[in-house]
Amino acid sequence: MPAEDAAATAAALLAELPPSPAVWCSGLRKRYGRRTAVDGVSLTVGRGEVVGLLGPNGAGKTSVIKMLMGLVRPDAGEVLLLGRSARDPRARARVGYLPELFRYQPWLTAVEVLNLHVRLAGADVPPVQRRECLALVGLADRGADRVSGFSKGMQQRLGLAVALVARPDLVVLDEPTSALDPLGRADVRDLLLSLGVRGVAVLLNSHLIGEVERVCDRVVILDRGRIAASGTLAELLGRRELRMRLDGVDARAEARLAAAGRLTRSGDVFTVELAADLADAESAVPDLVADLVDLGVRVHAVEPGRISLEERLLDILRTGSPGDPR
């Protein structure tokens, strides 16, 4: 049966293809009147990848997210969600979304809100799992209460449950911790990490850089509607540096330091920017210290430093270009 063979071969080939990205968008543009909010944004979120969207107020982060979710019509550009054009509502069948402005029907109970979203998503989620979802966000004992009696923080927790309830493959969270206390923020961080482990892709817009730095595999920085920089944290943050207070440094020791990376000296403080090949090596720092001690150098202090994402972000936004990673 050649036709059947061909179909089987095609199916096998298709199965071997890597799955389409969770989010793929290209050349997104949006103007509001005379103001350009988003200007040619292209980005990709791979399956199971946690990507952070960073940028100052008015950079266009929420506009990009709303265009991805079909809530705002782009003036130009294409969006694919889980391999399907976002113009087709079915593209959002396996997508969970927590809007920046989170409000849920005040006349419904928390359980009824989840039931509504499960029905709208066309998903088959047994009641036990819906209750588990509420428990996951700390609302286990408030399921029968009307949303009108919820605090802002509780509504945001409910919003997280709504985003997660229909077993999504992609979760888009716009400022998911804006109304949460520090404990709630820690809960959300754990939740995001567990999503990543389960292979659920996450696009996270957050002002909390620490949060993004801890949970994201990759970061996209938006500024004035354009992508100012993007990459993995290692790519964006560049090389690690090492600050040491030493005495008894002779020419041989200085040569050993210089071999580790670019060396600057200020009095007895030596700063080494570890070379790219050494930056991620576990043994680079102890080896260097051991060698220095062998060479008779007295080591008073060793401070490994990493340029924080916050410093890097400010650097990018102030200089207006990604520049060279330090």
Partner: protein, 283 residues
């Protein structure tokens, strides 16, 4: 997928109508109106009607019933117009719409679901309150309208027309503005209908055209007149009718099939425009 969305949203809209304060307000207003009309009709039975011929008594009962039904239709119109605004415009403003519309649903299906839910709610209210009013009139003055079901269907149609307008307005106006504008247009059409009736009575075709045109632009008044015609006693009107030309609470004629077809076209057009406006709106 669309059918499920429509039914889910329609059911949600009914739950919203039932749980919001508007239902309690509507129920309270209706009870007050029914109570007042029971009192008024019993007074009428005790005094006025005793001195009238049976034909005059039927005519008076018809007029007063139409007057009270106008009150009911006003309550239904106010209730549904002020439900239609918040349910769409209010949800866009508050952000409730964001989470719902990010689901795999078409906006047109959500809009149709809301419309269906509101129509069901409005029709249910008109049926229950209208029927209760008929019972009050029957118990007090012994009058039963000739075509009660048809009349209530016209009233439900009037409610549907107004809430469809309210939905359209709320796709681009704030909820309060859309409610106020819908009610204002409803009132203006009624006044235009009265003016048109006076024009007809005076034989002034120019003034009469005001009523005709307004009934085409917003078919609430046309349906209201058809409802009145179904509630009032036809023999009494035939007997005394000419003396009441232009009177706003008696209707000289019912509506034509062509007009009813126009109402259906009007509903489809307005709902279609609302669908397009809603689909194009950035949230």
């Amino acid at each position: 997928m669309n059918g499920r969305t429509v039914l889910t949203v329609a059911a949600l809209t009914l739950v919203e109508a039932a749980r919001r304060r508007v239902l309690r307000a509507l129920a309270a207003l209706t009870v007050v109106l029914l109570g007042l009309s029971a009192w008024g009709f019993s007074e009428l039975a005790d005094t006025e009607v005793g001195t009238l011929t049976s034909g005059e008594a039927q005519l008076v009962a018809s007029q007063v019933l139409n007057l009270v039904m106008f009150g009911l239709s006003l309550i239904a119109a106010l209730g549904t117009a002020f439900l239609a605004g918040p349910t769409l415009g209010g949800e866009i403003e508050s952000g409730i719409a964001l989470a719902v519309l990010a689901r795999p649903v078409r906006r047109s299906a959500v809009l149709l679901g809301k419309w269906l839910g509101l129509v069901a709610f409005g029709a249910g209210f008109v049926a229950v309150a209208g029927f209760a009013q008929f019972l009050v009139v029957r118990a007090t003055v012994g009058y039963w309208p000739p075509q009660p079901v048809l009349g209530l269907a016209f009233l439900a149609g009037q409610t549907a027309v107004l809430l469809t307008l309210g939905l359209l307005l709320s796709t681009f106006l704030s909820p309060m503005a859309s409610g106020v504008l819908a009610i204002g247009l409803f009132g203006a059409t009624w006044i235009a209908g009265v003016v048109g009736g006076v024009g007809q009575a005076l034989g002034n075709s120019g003034v009469a055209a005001v009523g005709t045109v307004s009934r085409m632009v917003l078919p609430t008044d046309g349906l209201w007149r058809a409802a009145m015609h179904a509630f009032q006693d036809p023999s009494a009107l035939a007997q005394f009718g000419r003396a009441f030309d232009g009177f706003p609470f008696l209707s000289q004629a019912t509506v034509s099939a062509v007009y009813l077809a126009w109402v259906l076209v009007w509903l489809a057009l307005v709902l279609g425009v609302a669908g397009v406006t809603f689909a194009r709106r950035d949230l």
